[in-house]
């Protein structure tokens, strides 16, 4: 990786919500996020529901304003942009939304949906003939037929809608696409189609992806690097294989272990089943956030928040994990099971 395309430093986002049990009204959805995304790279972002993945995506898209921290895109901070510059930034960073059903307006047809961005970015394809041609091209690109342009979203299946969402994101020829759970609503066979499509586009156009998913199998398949989130913090990052095969944070290990494997031998695996629930982000635990569910937790975990520990991975990339007692041996998982109950 040379100079990163997108860099995020210490991003924090707090929501004001109704009172919690402890009288807290401030919900820290993001708590000091650091990230980098290189050109043409896919960053996988995994984590449990409610840990802040979508909030991060929305903040990057400037749908939310962060309280703290900076976002740098090719050296500029998009939050400082206005007018024309803002528009051109908007053009370069696009998003595919989690829910293919909610993200398309049911009252527009596919052609209108795909060409909607040009209503704002008029100079991109000024003439209507150009626009029509480009719509056909985009639909073709995502594997839909030009004649589909007249159909309304209800007439498409979930997978096809997700493709429409991708076509719409592509309409502005962006450099970065944030994909928020692009396949979690889809059936297996459709999921494969979408993953193939994304892969093809990256090869062809060199776009970068931030790929958000809770399906580890999928992330493992698409991501170059992964970041694992827990309660608003990124607790582990590293190259995909490294993180998956040699998790250093206990949470990552538990996550990997909990995800069901399609293993046709029929032998039941032993696995770490985390006990307890994800704590409310309104009242996160003191010290290390994971300690309430961690089988390795000790007194210090309740008192001191762990600093990120950077280690070099065997392949030369950087590994980062926030834990007082990072796991050393991956094969020691079985031992962990016993403690986890």
């Amino acid at each position: 990786m040379s100079e990163p395309l997108l860099q995020v430093d210490g991003l924090c986002k707090t929501f004001h919500v109704a009172k919690s049990a402890r009288g807290n009204t401030r919900l820290k959805a993001l708590d000091g996020i650091n990230l980098t995304v290189g050109r043409g790279e896919t960053l996988g972002l995994v984590g449990e529901s409610g840990c802040g993945k979508s909030t991060l995506a929305r903040t990057l898209m400037m749908l939310e304003t962060p309280d703290e921290g900076t976002v740098t895109f090719e050296g500029t901070n998009p939050f400082g942009l206005r007018g024309k510059e803002l528009l051109s930034w908007r053009r370069r960073v696009q998003m595919v939304f989690q829910d293919p059903f909610a993200s398309l307006n049911a009252r527009m047809n596919a052609g209108d949906i795909v060409s909607e961005p040009w209503a704002t970015h008029r100079n991109l394809y000024p003439s209507s003939r150009e626009r029509e041609a480009r719509v056909r091209e985009l639909l073709h690109m995502v594997g839909l037929r030009p004649s589909d342009a007249r159909k309304s979203p209800q007439e498409f299946s979930g997978g096809q809608r997700q493709r429409l969402g991708i076509a719409r994101a592509l309409a502005l020829n962006p450099d970065v696409i944030i994909l928020d759970e692009p396949v979690s609503a889809l059936d297996l066979s459709v999921q494969a189609q979408i993953l193939n499509l994304l892969n093809d586009l990256q090869q062809e156009l060199g776009v970068s992806y931030i790929f958000i998913s809770h399906d580890l199998t999928v992330v493992r398949h698409v991501a170059d690097r992964v970041a694992v989130m827990y309660l608003g913090r990124i607790i582990e990052t590293g190259a995909t294989e490294e993180v998956f095969d040699h998790p250093r944070h206990p949470y990552t290990a538990a996550l990997m272990s909990a995800s069901p494997k399609l293993d046709v031998t029929g032998v039941k695996r032993d696995r770490i089943v985390l006990q307890g629930e994800l704590p409310s982000p309104l009242d996160p635990p003191s010290g290390c956030r994971f300690r309430t569910r961690c089988w390795k937790a000790q007194d210090i975990c309740a008192e001191v928040a762990p600093e990120p520990r950077v280690t070099a991975a065997p392949d030369g990339g950087l590994r980062l994990a926030e834990c007082h007692f990072p796991l050393e041996t991956v094969k020691g998982l079985t031992g962990a099971t016993a403690t986890a109950g």
Partner: protein, 332 residues
């Protein structure tokens, strides 16, 4: 540049022409069924639609056909009973207390009634919904202020407003429209605000924001088209309310003024003749009720028919009805 992307793998994923996607959830396989065909299937809705069209036509062309029949008085011919052709077709519905043809008056009154109710509803709808959509989309202080204004209008005795305006500025049709519209704005305002506040957090609106679209463009493109059917249904119901309100104003003497005539005015003036000439108030009353029911039935039907998530209700079993009425469900 697209060549490699549309390679066989992607290519052969194109769905065949014959098997259209099933989509998730229910009802979506219905696509966009022809509303007219759907209408014909619901007999009540069909009858209502036909009635409304007839009434509408009467209001538009009827008065021209009636000429001055509606105002021609004949004091010697007052309060003649209806349903007799002895005095010519124009008196088939009887005559009123000044010997005018009830039929002609009902027809002429339909136009006045509509020309009060329709603009009143239209103005309230337009103002209330645009305002509500705007307030709901932007949330924050705009929403708060708008809702407080709505509160004020709602808790302000609308009758007082009506009386004052109509007394001070004369009870012309224009003022009646104005007053009825003003007092009904909050109804649309509230609904539009609620829907729009909900919509502005929808993902497709977020998507539009990520393109850099301006709020007004988003409101026009994404919010209004979605809110409109609900508001139109509401407007249909309000239409009935406005007709009734107009007749109440007539009761208080500040509605449509003679020699103009509306259904409400006819009911109101006919009430003193209930015992001597019932038709004076019954006929216009029936006209109001029939119009209202027809509009309500059609609105209820339309609300379901235009909502993809509810359309299935129209397909609900009608076993009992079918058992009685020998109508076969058409099976395509």
């Amino acid at each position: 540049m697209t060549s490699s992307l549309t390679e066989p793998a992607a290519q052969d994923q194109l769905p065949g022409t014959e098997n259209r996607p099933s989509g998730k959830g229910n009802g979506s396989q219905d696509g966009n069924p022809n509303l007219f065909r759907l209408l014909l299937k619901d007999r009540f809705a069909t009858v209502s639609a036909v009635l409304l069209v007839l009434i509408g036509l009467t209001a538009v062309i009827g008065p021209a056909l009636m000429g001055d029949l509606a105002t021609k008085q004949n004091l010697l011919f007052a309060n003649k009973a209806p349903f007799s052709l002895a005095h010519g077709w124009e008196y088939v519905l009887g005559s009123d207390s000044l010997g005018r043809s009830m039929l002609a008056r009902l027809v002429v009154a339909s136009r006045t009634t509509f020309s009060v109710a329709v603009p009143a509803v239209a103005v309230a709808l337009a103002v209330g919904s645009l305002w509500g959509v705007w307030a709901g989309y932007h949330r924050g202080w705009r929403e708060n202020v708008s809702m407080r204004i709505a509160d004020v209008i709602m808790s302000f005795p609308s009758l007082l407003l009506a009386v004052v305006v109509l007394y001070v500025f004369s009870p012309s049709a224009g003022n009646i429209v104005l007053i009825l519209a003003l007092t009904r704005i909050p109804i649309y305002l509230r609904t539009a605000r609620a829907e729009s506040a909900e919509l502005q957090s929808r993902t497709f609106v977020d998507a539009a924001r990520t393109f850099g679209a301006r709020p007004n463009a988003i409101i026009g493109r994404h919010v209004i088209p979605v809110v409109l059917p609900t508001l139109l249904t509401l407007a249909t119901l309000e239409f009935c309310y406005v007709m009734l309100a107009e007749s109440s104003l007539s009761f208080l003497g500040i509605g449509i003024q003679p020699p103009d005539v509306s259904w409400g005015l006819m009911v109101s003036q006919g009430r003193q003749y209930l015992q001597t000439a019932w038709w004076l108030s019954i006929f216009p009353g029936v006209a109001i009720v029939v119009t209202t029911i027809a509009a309500n039935v059609l609105a209820a039907w339309l609300r379901i028919a235009t909502d993809p998530a509810q359309r299935w209700r129209l397909a609900l079993p009608r076993k009992r009805l079918i058992a009685r009425i020998p109508v076969k469900e058409a099976k395509p």
